[in-house]
Symmetry: C2
Subunit: 264 residues, 2 copies
DNA sequence: ATCAGCTGTGCCGCTGAGTGGAACACGAAT
DNA sequence: ATTCGTGTTCCACTCAGCGGCACAGCTGAT
C-alpha cells in the first residue's frame, strides 16, 4: 500500500503546486505537446484531476491548448523565466561577448550554470552548417564530462564535488577513467583557469571552457567553445575563451543585476 | 464587501494555481528579487500564506532563495520554458538565420510572436556598442508602434485587429495618427510583405520587419532589424530582412516542431 | 535603554477548494 | 456490433490550504 499510496491514490491529495509541477515536468524535449491522456499518464495524475489542473494552468498562461486539444508549454512561462538572474539575467550581459567569440571562431559557443548536480545550458550559439551538438538550451549536462561541466564542478561547493567524485563512473563520453583522475583533473582546471573536454558520442568534438566570476570572485557560470576534433589545435582557443570569460566577468561588475552565487 | 472580498480577504481562498501565478507575476524586470514582505505586498497575499506558497515554489524550483532571504526566479522555469514551441522552439530554428542577419548588418535583430494583444519578444541580438533598445527578451511590445508589432497585427485574427484599431490612441512613439491611418498601414503591410516602424522615445531608431510563416501559411512570428535613424537608407534593409524571414519560414517546414498558429 | 516598526517564522482550528471515481458522448479500430 | 480510447461534466467527501495571531530578531529614532 505504501507503494500504491505514493502513486497518487485516492483521497490522498498532495500539494497542488507539486502536482502542477509534475504536470509541467511531463513535457520534455521530445514530448513538447501532450494530449490530456498522455499528460495524465506521464504525471501519474488521474484524468479528471489532470484536466482541471491543466485548464487552470492554461488560464494562467503556463500552458496553451491547441485547437486539436493538445497541451503545449505556454509563452507566459518564458516571460517569467527571463527574469531569472542566473538564467537570462546572466545571459543578457554575456550575449554580446559570446557573439564576438562566435563571430571570430564560427564554432558552437556555450554558456552554462550549475544547478544542483548538473550543469544547465543557458545559451548556445551555433552556425547552421555546424555539426550538431548533443545539448539544447534549457537542457542539462553532466558535470563530469563536458568542458563547462568540469569548470563548474571544479569551483562548486565541497559537498557537491565530493558527492560527484564518489559517484563518478567512467563513461565512453570522457577520457577520465577513475574518481582519482577526476579529482586530479579538477585541480588542474582550478590551477590553469580553463578546462578541456572531449566527446565522441554523436560526433567527435573537443571543447575548451573557462569560468565566469561574480564580483565577489565566486564562479557563477562557464563559457566554452565546441570544435570538431581534428581541426586546428585546441590550444588555439584557450586564450580566446579565457579573455571572453574575463570580459563577461568584468561586465558583471557594472551591471550588478545578475551577480549572485548559487543559493544551495 | 465585494471590494473587500475580492482583495484576498479571510476565509475566501482562491485557486492555488492562480495565487502561485500571482506570486510569480510579482517579479518584473526591475524587481528581480523580492523579500517576503514585498512579495506579499505586490501579490496581495497575506504574509503567512505567501511564505508557505513561495516555499513550495522553491521546493519545485520555480523560485530560488538567496542566503539573505530574498526570493528570485529559479532556473527550473527556464528549463520548462524552453519547451514552449512558440517560444524557444521557434527561436531554435530561427537563430542561425538571425545570426547571419546580425553578422551582416551589425544591427539589433528582433524575433517576436503575438500573445493576446501584445507582441512578445522571443529573441534579440545586439552588438555591445549598439544604442540601447527599449525592449528586452521576454518583454512585451505594443502591436501598434513597433515594426514587428505591425506585422503581427496585420496578420492577426479579425477580432484582435478590430479591437486594437478601435482602442488605438496615437502616441509620441509612432507616426500613425488615427485609427483610419493604422488600418491603411496594416493593409500596406499585408500587401508589401514588410513593415516599417519608427521610434523617437529613448533613442531615435527605425525598424524594418517581415513575417515568418508556418507551413500552413499562417503568420507565426515577425523578424526585424532596428537601426539608428540617419544611417543608410531604410530601403537597404528591406530585402535582407525579407529573405531572412523566408529562410526561417522554409526551415519551419522541415522541423515541424515549432509550427503552429496561436491557440487563441 | 526604551521604544516603535519592520522583518521572517511557527502555530493551529476552521472550512471550502480540490479531490477522483463514475458516467457520459464521441470517434476509430476491431 | 463491439471494444477501446478519448475528452468531458458531475458531485459528495474531506484534507490541504487558509490566515489571524504571537513570537523573535533586527534595525533606527528617541
Amino acid at each position: 500500500m505504501t507503494e500504491q499510496a505514493r502513486a497518487g491514490r485516492t483521497g490522498a491529495g498532495e500539494a497542488v503546486i507539486e502536482r502542477a509541477a509534475r504536470l509541467l515536468a511531463a513535457f520534455t524535449a521530445d514530448h513538447r505537446q501532450l494530449s490530456l491522456a498522455e499528460l495524465s499518464r506521464r504525471s501519474g495524475i488521474p484524468r479528471s484531476s489532470a484536466l482541471r489542473l491543466a485548464r487552470k494552468l492554461v488560464d494562467v498562461g503556463a500552458l496553451e491548448r491547441r485547437s486539436d486539444g493538445a497541451f503545449v508549454v505556454g509563452l507566459r512561462l518564458l516571460e517569467v523565466a527571463t527574469l531569472a538572474p542566473r538564467g537570462h539575467g546572466l545571459r543578457a550581459v554575456a550575449m554580446p561577448y559570446m557573439e564576438d567569440l562566435f563571430a571570430v571562431t564560427r564554432q558552437h559557443v556555450l554558456l552554462a550554470v550549475r544547478d544542483g548536480d548538473d550543469a544547465l545550458l543557458v545559451e548556445r550559439l551555433s552556425a547552421h552548417g555546424a555539426m550538431p551538438v548533443q545539448y539544447r538550451v534549457g537542457g542539462r549536462l553532466p558535470l563530469t564530462s563536458t568542458g563547462v561541466g568540469l569548470v563548474l564542478l571544479a569551483h562548486a561547493p565541497a559537498d557537491v564535488q565530493e558527492r560527484t567524485i564518489e559517484e563518478f563512473v567512467p563513461s565512453a563520453d570522457t577520457e577520465i577513467r577513475s574518481p582519482a583522475e577526476l579529482r586530479r583533473t579538477l585541480a588542474e582546471v582550478r590551477r590553469g583557469g580553463f578546462a578541456r573536454g572531449r566527446q565522441s558520442e554523436p560526433w567527435s568534438v573537443s571543447t575548451v571552457a573557462a569560468p565566469v566570476r561574480a564580483p565577489d570572485g565566486a564562479v557563477v557560470a562557464a563559457l566554452s567553445v565546441v570544435v570538431p576534433t581534428g581541426g586546428p589545435d585546441l590550444g588555439t582557443y584557450v586564450h580566446v575563451v579565457q579573455t571572453t570569460a574575463l570580459a563577461v566577468t568584468r561586465e558583471l561588475n557594472y551591471s550588478s543585476v545578475a551577480a549572485d552565487r548559487t543559493p544551495t
